[in-house]
């Protein structure tokens, strides 16, 4: 259709406009509005209801522990993941198999079981081996060790995929100029791999933030454990778990919007 709408325009032009509107609605991020509405409702409840506000005040201090666990574990697991991921694509079959064993072991056991196993079996064995008293190691540290080891394996797979996404010709071009394998990896392959890997790393950061709630298994006072302690004292399950859900959801929403933004920017660039 050309030009502005003719007065008393025929049915087809009306139909066209209708179709436009419907498509607009279909492409709008309705899910985002829904989540925001849910969050707003929750926030309103906390702001207007005293017992919810009280639960919020008691639970919120746990956020520092949640964030500390998340950030520290993420840094360690990216480091571990990079090493294991490079091992995974190494030409050295010993390194490669060590890395694969690590990754497949972690992927084959439930996270909850791994956390219990690492915190109560592996860490005591390791601490005894280096001459530490078993109970000298705080539960939070054990949990960070466990989460880092678990996510290190997940992130290794991300790095492997990233390195494998770089065309083979890049390594050949580097090598043909006389660069060593390691030099080519560092200056040519990894910088390109990191770019493709960033959104996936962001998603794993979000997943790690959520899994940090498993700290409650070891009695570490993060958000989740604070909420559970609160219910244990007050039996106010509605308040505690609504507040808890609200806190995690608002954090992950912000993070996932950030990851999407990053993805769009990288996709364009």
């Amino acid at each position: 259709m050309t030009g502005p709408e003719v007065p008393g325009g025929d049915a087809s032009s009306v139909g066209l406009i209708d179709r436009w509107r419907r498509r607009d609605i279909r492409e709008a991020p309705l899910w985002l509005f829904a989540i925001l509405a849910i969050l707003a409702l929750m926030a309103l409840t906390v702001a207007t209801n005293r017992s919810f506000a009280h639960a919020f005040e008691i639970i919120i201090p746990g956020i520092t522990t949640t964030l500390r666990i998340t950030l520290v574990s993420f840094v360690i697991s990216v480091f571990l993941g990079l090493i294991a991921g490079l091992g995974r694509v190494s030409r050295n079959f010993v390194l490669r198999n060590v890395a694969i064993t690590y990754v497949e072991f972690v992927r084959g056991v439930p996270i909850v079981v791994l956390i219990l196993m690492i915190a109560f079996v592996l860490v005591p064995i390791a601490s005894k081996a280096i001459g530490f008293a078993n109970n000298a190691i705080p539960q939070e540290v054990r949990f960070i060790v466990a989460l880092s080891l678990i996510y290190g394996a997940f992130i290794a797979e991300i790095f492997r995929a990233g390195v494998e996404s770089v065309p083979k010709g890049q390594m050949e071009a580097g090598r043909s100029l006389g660069l060593t394998h390691a030099q080519t990896m560092r200056s040519i392959i990894l910088p390109q791999a990191i770019r493709t890997v960033l959104p996936a790393l962001g998603n794993d950061f979000i997943a790690l933030l959520k899994d940090s709630a498993l700290a409650t298994l070891l009695g570490v006072r993060d958000l989740t454990q604070s909420a559970r302690l609160y219910t244990g004292r007050t039996f106010r399950f509605d308040e505690a778990f609504l507040v808890l859900t609200f806190l995690y959801l608002s954090m992950t929403l912000v993070l996932s919007l950030l990851v999407q933004y990053l993805q769009r920017r990288l996709g364009r660039g």
Binding site: A173, R175, S176, L177, G178, L179, S187, R195
Partner: protein, 259 residues
């Protein structure tokens, strides 16, 4: 015919002082596919050798073995008398003397044209930043695109990218240059600008081995010609002789198809 083992220093061929690249009874298999069978070649300093043949005939594989990008299943490659497959050979020191230009350019997309050309100079040749930039700019002048120095490769046309790739290799001051179908991925109107650069390079006395279907170029600058078919070298000789008087029926047939 029995394959020779990969490393047999005792049967090292005679290598004269002007034998830049010697390919000695080279065979290469990929799984059950025998890509190259018992190929032998001598590339003299200052010559331009054109390798022709239908696709899948093993041309690229022979070329890639000359840079150890493929490891021969048997036989050997010598660069300036250095046995590439020998255990005590540092392949990196050999490779820095041999430039390689790929069909797909293989520029580094995450760095500028200039950085593409300075990277190996600095990391491998140990040149200072200023020195590397000077060499890079001189080579970009030579291939005719100094004004593109600060762009990313992605912003350049295919022909310009391939010229950058040639400049990148030349900046290492190689003793020989290998070209693996350098114009096959280019639009027709860009082929000439790349061939012109290669023409100039040949005229300057560079030792070149070129896998190419560009017969006009081959006729103009080729001093030697190698015809491959089904993994074997079926004919080899001076370019003008092979052109005017191909002896092997497969060469005659090949020429009749593409000329």
């Amino acid at each position: 015919m029995a394959d020779r083992p990969a490393i047999r220093p005792d049967i090292r061929p005679d290598i004269g002082p002007d034998d830049r690249i010697v390919v000695d009874h080279l065979s290469k298999s990929f799984g059950s596919i025998r890509a190259v069978r018992d190929a032998s070649l001598r590339i003299k300093t200052g010559t331009v050798t054109i390798i022709i043949g239908p696709s899948g005939s093993g041309k690229s594989t022979v070329l890639r073995c000359m840079n150890h990008l493929e490891v021969p299943t048997s036989g050997a490659v010598y660069i300036d008398g250095v046995h590439l497959e020998a255990k005590d050979t540092d392949i990196n020191t050999v490779r820095r003397e041999i430039g390689m230009v790929f069909q797909q350019f293989n520029l580094f997309p995450h760095m500028s044209v200039l950085d593409n050309i300075t990277l190996a100079q600095r990391m491998v040749r140990g040149r200072s930043k200023q020195e590397a930039v000077d060499v890079a700019m001189a080579q970009l002048e030579r291939v005719g695109i100094p004004e593109q120095a600060h762009k990313r490769p992605g912003a350049l046309s295919g022909g310009q990218q391939q010229r950058v790739a040639i400049a990148r290799s030349l900046a290492m001051n190689p003793k020989a240059m290998l070209f693996d179908e350098p114009t096959s991925a280019l639009d027709p109107e860009m082929i000439k600008e790349v061939l012109d650069v290669m023409l100039e390079l040949a005229a300057s006395g560079m030792t070149m081995v070129v896998v190419s279907h560009e017969m006009g170029f081959a006729r103009e600058v080729g001093s030697h010609m190698v015809m491959m078919d089904f993994g074997e070298i079926v004919e080899e000789g001076r370019a003008d002789e092979v052109f005017s008087n191909p002896r092997h029926p497969r060469t005659q047939e090949f020429f009749s198809k593409i000329l």
